[in-house]
């Protein structure tokens, strides 16, 4: 059995409004909403529910090095300000591709996680919700 994870950005997802992609959906419905296991403990079925922890690691060495690299690029463009618009366009393009790359990386990782979970995982997912309930 295979798990198909379409690319981010909404292009491959039927019926989504523009600007909303799989990453947005994951943010919302895996992390928010009522949690049924708080109410119901009797007849939950042992169905295998695949979960994705798609949270981007906000502070990591990779992130730091990426920022440093971006600052270096910034320097080069600032020293050549005779072509600001042209260079600005390039920089925007780089930034855009980079953010797309990040989202794609997350989804690819999510896909791997899905496949890892395809076997031998049969509890309903709620680690985050449990933590939240304990904390609240």
């Amino acid at each position: 059995m295979t798990v198909a994870v379409p690319p981010a950005g909404g292009g491959g997802l039927p019926g989504r409004s523009s600007g909303s992609g799989l990453a947005d959906v994951i943010d919302t419905i895996l992390d928010k909403g009522l949690v049924i296991d708080a109410y119901v403990r009797v007849s939950l079925v042992g169905i295998e529910v695949l979960t994705i922890d798609a949270r981007v690691v906000v502070a990591s060495v990779d992130t730091y090095l990426r920022f440093a690299e971006a600052v270096n690029r910034l320097d080069l463009t600032q020293t050549q300000d005779t072509l600001p618009e042209f260079i600005g366009g390039i920089t925007q393009g780089v930034a855009h591709n980079k953010s797309k790359g990040v989202a794609k990386g997350v989804l690819e990782a999510a896909g791997e996680k899905l496949q890892d979970l395809m076997s031998g995982y049969a509890e309903e997912p709620a680690p985050r919700s449990r933590r939240r309930r304990e904390g609240s």
Partner: protein, 265 residues
């Protein structure tokens, strides 16, 4: 057929399962009992299950049959869950459940979910009636925010100069430190900008929930609960925010959607 589904109020029943327990009941959300389900509404699964209503008193659950032999959680399942709830929320009040709620049968949905919490659900539905959620996702454009950081942080400028004057493999620590400084300065900007947005939208929204950032350049990630009557004001405020921020921040708005961030367990 052996299993009477007295709780299921949907017109036209799905093909009855055999005796083997291969089918369970996936629950999407809670709605008022007097809603109607369009015949072509479908949800999770492959092929997608037809949406039915399980009614109890004043409330009802949006459910569909789901095959327990197959794992749930493909991209299509996630999208189907949210799409159904958001389309329903455009018409009626909906209490959305988190993805992955499955009970054994429609009877179990009544006995274990709807009946014990009937009054809470009914009260919550009244409270969100006429309101919808929107999510603001704002992200700093890379070049402007890095320029800001360099202008504001002497340490960042010092590290940048040192990195430029030495070979790359001699400055790994400095580059990591530079990135850390940038991350910290951006985090402070995010906190200030997020609070400013929450304050700014206070007049035209009912409530706001600040979400965790989902990207290192996030400027704000906030869910708002908005009265339908104030939606035009809200959208106008978003446009004003876009104008004020200009090229500095990219602003996206998701919604209207079900009030995922405003239902509490």
């Amino acid at each position: 057929m052996s299993s009477p589904t007295k709780a299921s109020g949907a017109a036209g029943s799905a093909p009855a399962p055999d005796d083997r327990r291969a089918v369970a009941c996936y629950v999407y959300g809670i709605v008022p009992e007097d809603v109607e389900i369009s015949a072509d509404a479908v949800g999770v699964g492959d092929p997608p299950g037809r949406i039915q209503l399980v009614r109890h008193g004043e409330v009802a659950a949006l459910v569909s049959d789901v095959n327990v032999d197959r794992p749930l959680g493909r991209a299509q399942d996630l999208v189907a869950h949210e799409l159904l709830l958001d389309e329903a929320a455009a018409e009626v009040p909906v209490l959305p459940l988190r993805f992955g709620a499955v009970l054994t049968t429609p009877e179990a949905v009544v006995e274990e979910l709807l009946a014990p919490h009937h009054d809470q659900f009914a009260a919550a539905l009244k409270e969100i009636d006429g309101r919808a959620q929107f999510v603001l996702k704002a992200r700093y454009a890379e070049r402007p925010v890095l320029t800001e950081v360099l202008n504001e942080s002497q340490e960042a400028r010092r590290l940048r100069d040192r990195i430029r004057s030495l070979p790359e493999d001699a400055t790994r620590n400095e580059r990591i430190r530079l990135g850390e400084v940038i991350t910290q300065v951006i985090a402070a900007k995010r906190e200030a900008d997020t609070q400013a947005v929450v304050d700014r939208f206070g007049d035209c929204t009912v409530a706001a929930t600040v979400r965790e950032p989902s990207h290192e350049r996030d400027a704000a990630h906030i869910a708002f609960l908005v009265e339908n009557e104030r939606q035009a004001d809200f959208e106008e405020a978003i446009e004003e925010l876009r104008d004020d921020w200009g090229d500095r921040v990219e602003v996206r708005m998701l919604g209207p959607m079900a009030p995922y961030d405003f239902v509490v367990t």
